[in-house]
Structures are given as structure tokens and as C-alpha cells.
């Protein structure tokens, strides 16, 4: 599904190399986790893959189902099936959550040459999905993320993911700022979307999220590249011994 080879990325504004030869492959149907210390480049990876401005790819490739991602605009990547659940979902005053989601769903459908969803159909689908995530009608009506609690914002990200039905989901520290109940709710939402035709890349600091969203593969990232990969037990090792040991042995 997602294939990254020898990816080198620097900040556009300053001469600072963040990713230094990162390679990674996430096949369809699998959940991969990336763990790593602060400053290892995890969030940069998620932004570069989703098309945020301000980064320069100096070497390497990233493809989604064989299509070059790095050549596409952010919206084209989304239409191609890439989804980033933001670490810090953005508040957009004045744009209703529902309007936003309907615009997004139909923009992607249009870009893929599919028929747009009618207002009635959209309403029916979103109500059902929102209910599963305990998102009430009021949250759907309010401006995007404005006045939402940390947990509500993350649930709203998962709702967007459920509505957009992407092929490749990147979750950037979706567990940050969540209490135990909220983490369970969000994880259930993610698990419900696990599918043989869909892949996940879960970026996290902590092992605890991986108790809920059990990964097939765990990667340890440090210094801008993957230094070690293994099964779920790798996350437990990190939890127990910290990153220092792993980085030395790598």
C-alpha cells in the first residue's frame, strides 16, 4: 500500500535535515506503528506524506499503491486515499463541521470521478457514524473543532476518517491528550475501520495506545530513519527500557 524508500527531507526555511534515509513499507490490511523519541522526525514524516508546505524532499520516494505521492498536491493525495489524523486538529471558526465534512467527501468523490453524495444520504451516513463515536448533533453543527475538548477533537478526526474511507490512514499521536475512556472510544473507532484493503500507520510515543490498536509491525524511529523493526513485543521493550538501549543496539 504505502512504500517509502530512502526518504530524505529537510526544512525549506532552514538548512536542517530531518529525515535521513527513511525506508518503510506498509502492506494493505496491516497496522504498523512508529515509535520514537521526541525530535526523531515522526510528525515530519506524517506532514511530508500528506503534502504540507515547508518541507523539501532532497532524496528518496514515497508511493501509494505505486503512485508517486510526492508529486501530488495535498488534496490529490487525499483523493488518492491518504488520510492524516492530526496530532493537533485545527479549529476553523465560521465553517460548520457538517458543511466541512460534506464538502470534503464530495470533493474527493468528484476528484475520483464518482457521483457526489446527496444531502439526505450524507446526513443518514454521518448520523450513524457519529453515534458510534458518541458525537452528538450539536458537535456536528458547531464550527470545525471550535470549543471541542481534546477528546472531542480526536473523535472528530476519527469521524472524518470513517466518512472519507481512506485506503491509507496515518494517525499522528492520536492518543495525546486523551484519557483512558476517550482512548478506548477512539481505538474502537479505528479498529472498526480495520480492513484487508486498508492500511494504518500509527505514530505514537507510548505503548498504551498499542494495547488497544494492536499493530502487526512496530518500527522504532530515531535520527530521521527507522532503526529497528519487530512485532508488538518491540513496543513493550520500549516501554520497559526506554529508547536509549534500542538506539545503542541499532
Amino acid at each position: 500500500m504505502l512504500k517509502i524508500e530512502n526518504l530524505h527531507v529537510k526544512l525549506e526555511e532552514e538548512d536542517k535535515q530531518i529525515l535521513k534515509g527513511l525506508s518503510l513499507e506498509v502492506p494493505a490490511g496491516e497496522v504498523h506503528a512508529i515509535m520514537g523519541p521526541n525530535g526523531s522526525g515522526k510528525s515530519t514524516l506524517s506532514y511530508v506524506l500528506s503534502g504540507k508546505d515547508g518541507y523539501e524532499v532532497t532524496d528518496g520516494t514515497a508511493t501509494l499503491e505505486g503512485n508517486d505521492l510526492l508529486d501530488l498536491e495535498a488534496e490529490e493525495r487525499a483523493a488518492a486515499g491518504l488520510f492524516l489524523a492530526f496530532q493537533y486538529p485545527v479549529e476553523i471558526p465560521g465553517v460548520g463541521n457538517m458543511t466541512f465534512l460534506r464538502t470534503a467527501v464530495n470533493a474527493q468523490r468528484k476528484a475520483r470521478g464518482e457521483e457526489e453524495m446527496s444531502a439526505a444520504e450524507f446526513l443518514k451516513v454521518i448520523r450513524a457514524k457519529a453515534k458510534d463515536l458518541k458525537i452528538d448533533a450539536d458537535m456536528l453543527k458547531r464550527p470545525v473543532n471550535v470549543g471541542f475538548s481534546g477528546g472531542e477533537k480526536k473523535r472528530n478526526e476519527i469521524l472524518q476518517m470513517a466518512m472519507l474511507e481512506p485506503k491509507m490512514c496515518i494517525l499522528d499521536e492520536t492518543d495525546s491528550g486523551l484519557d483512558v475512556d476517550a482512548m478506548k472510544l477512539v481505538s474502537d473507532g479505528v479498529n472498526a475501520l480495520r480492513d484487508p484493503n486498508r492500511a494504518f500507520l500509527v505514530i505514537t510515543h507510548y505503548q498504551r495506545l498499542l494495547d488497544h490498536i494492536v499493530p502487526d509491525v512496530v518500527h522504532i524511529m530515531a535520527g530521521g530513519k527507522i532503526v529497528k523493526s519487530g512485532g508488538p513485543e518491540l513496543a513493550l521493550e520500549v516501554e520497559k527500557n526506554g529508547y536509549a538501549d534500542l538506539m545503542e543496539s541499532a
Binding site: 488534496e75 465560521g94 464538502t103
Partner: protein
Amino acid sequence: MAVAKEKLLARKRDALAERLGALTLPEGGAWITEARKSALGRLEAMGLPAPRDEYWRFTKPDLLNAPKPAPAAVFDHGDEMPVFGEVDRIKIVFVDGVFDAAQSDDLTLAGVEIDRLAEAAKADIHWAKGVFGTVELASQTPVERPLAALNTAFATDGVLIRVTGKAAKPISLIYKHEDDCSDAILHNVVKLEPGAELTLLENGPAAARFNKCLEVDIADGARFHHIRAQGRDHERQAVTGMFVRQGAESLFKSFTLTANGRLTRNESFIEMKGANASAHIAGAALGHGDFHHDDTVFITHDAENCESRQVFKKVLQKGAVGAFQGKILVKRGAQKTDGYQKSQSLLLDDEAQFLAKPELEIYADDVACSHGSTSGAIDEDMLFYLRARGVDKGTAMDLLVIAFVAEAIEEIEDESFREEITERLESWLLRRRG
């Protein structure tokens, strides 16, 4: 100093003399002749606006002063439905400032008297006597408004509306523009008797150059709603004055949408004379290129416990200029005043310019008054968030522009009008993107 001032005044009077050469005082009955002569008198004392006048520093008055208007091409609306086209309303149509009976509805509406100024002016006496020119006159202190006095003196037509009950439907003034060189002066008066209610709609550019006055007298407990869409002709020039006096427990709500226009100067003067009144005035202006838009607002709190809101939003790009001059004056004794003023601009590129001068002048000690004025660019994080969800850049920008002006549109009380204005804006933005 005194000599310099005298010199300046002489120049303003010279400009006026040149302008008056192209105008004749209309003939009419006793009541209106008196009002017109009085307006001409104050105009002659003031002269025309000059760039060094305190409230003309942001906006050059030349185009508005000139004896003849600069030509303005008529905007091609294509097959677009006119604004308010689907609203059940009484239509009153002016083409290049001239009343068009064929396109207008029969001017009868329960609880409302509607007269054309041109007809009413022939009579010796008319109910409008206490309003026509008098609310405009009140607005001349402390800031002179020569172009409003010129309007009162020389307007030959307009509409006089007296509302005694709750009007069953809105009255819609439609200002069509067909002649590239037209110069229109219209003067409208609305008088709401105690407890009455009216929604007034205005739309269209009216002419190449338009000087319009709207005087509104709102009695105790009456409610007035005003929704306006100014025409989209790129080269049009307009100066409008909205002069209001409010009685106790009355409501005034006004919203103006402006897209395009080489020069627009919208002046408002609202005087709250009775306790517990509420005045809300809002505007959304969007322009690019040769666009200059000026909102000059003056709200006077002259009674206790009144509330006022000013919400002005401007979206500017490619050299467009927006100006805002807003004042809240709280007079001695106007305790428990709640006044708020917000003027914000969204600058879509480095060439756009926003000039703002918020003012508070307060002579009472138990009041809550504040203002906020900001200029900013499109938020890159918001833009990326939308694009990361698959919304293309153009649509995402439009969504953010509409979100930016939404707070002004929210000031319209009626939901269907809010929706119409929002949808209209969406289609205009889409059209602009091509």
C-alpha cells in the same frame, strides 16, 4: 493657521461652485422646498469634501465631487438570478436613478404608506416633513457630510415609506444600471410608528455614480431590518448615507454586502434617543484590483441602557483598499451603555491595504464599550487542514473567506436572508475563480 484654514475652505467652496453649475434645485411644494433650501444653505457653508478633512483622509472624494461621473461599464450578470429574486416582496425599481413603473409593483401594502418622492414633493404638506432632511441635518454634527446635504437639496426622486403596523412583506428597492455615464441621486425616507416593523431590501448599483440617502426614524418599540447588496459593476462609484434616529426599545439592524466597485463610501449615523434601544450595523465587503471601500460609522448613545454593535469585515486582494472609521459616542447620562465595534480585514496578498480608525468617546461612567480591529492573511494551518481532507485549494480559500465574513452575515436576523446572502457569496466567489 487661520489663513490656511480659510484657503482650504475657499477651495472646498470652489469645488462646490463647479459642481452646482451642473445641478438645478428641483421645484416642489412648500414643505420640500423649505427642506431643500435649508440643505443647500448648509452645503454652501461647508463646501465639498477635501482630502485634508479628518474623515476623508482614507478616501479621495474627487470622483464623488466631480461635476460629471466617470463612466462605468454595466456588469454582465449572465443568467444569474437577481439578489432577493425569490423573495415575496414589493418591488420598486429605479433605472439609472429614474423610477420605472413598468418594472415596479403596485405600491400598496397593508400597514404601510408608500409614496414616491417625486409625487409627494408636489404637495404643499406631507407626513415626511418632520423627517426629510431633518435626520440628515442631525447627522451633520459633529462631522460634516456635504454629500448628504447635496443629496437632500437635489434629489428629485426616492421613496417615502411610513409604517404603522407590521409590514406583511419586505419592501425591495432595486437600483438598475443601464447607462455607462449615468449619475443618480435618490433620497429615501422610512418612518416607523410606535411598534411598527419593516424589512427594507436594497440592491443594485443604480448608476455609474450613485449618491443615495436613507433617513430612518424609528419610534418607540418599532423594529427596522435593512439588508443591502450593492452592485457588482467594477467601475461604479457610490456614496451612501444612512441616517437613523431611534426611540426607546426600538431595534435597528442593517447589513450590507459589497462586492466590486471602484469607489464605495458608506456612511452611517445612528442616534439612540430612547432607553433600551438596540442598533446593529454590519457589512461584508470583497474586492480585488481597483476597489476602494470605506465604511464610516458614527453611533451616538444618548439614552440609558442601549446596546450597539458594529461588525465590519473586508476581504481584499490585488491592490484593493478597505477603510473603516467607526465611532461610538456615549453622551453624558447614557449609563449602562453596551457598545462594541469590530473591524477586520483579510488580506489575500501583499498588495491589499486596510486602513482603520476606531474611536470611542465616552462621557458616562457606567458603560461597557470596546473595539477590535485586525488585519490578517489566510491561516495556512486551516488551509492545509482543509486540503488534507481533499478540498481543493480554491474551494478551501472560498470556505475560509466565507467563514471570515460569516460573523457579519450572522447579524441578519432572518435565517432565510442569511442563507441567501451566504449562497450568493459562494456563487460569486466561484464565478471569480472561473
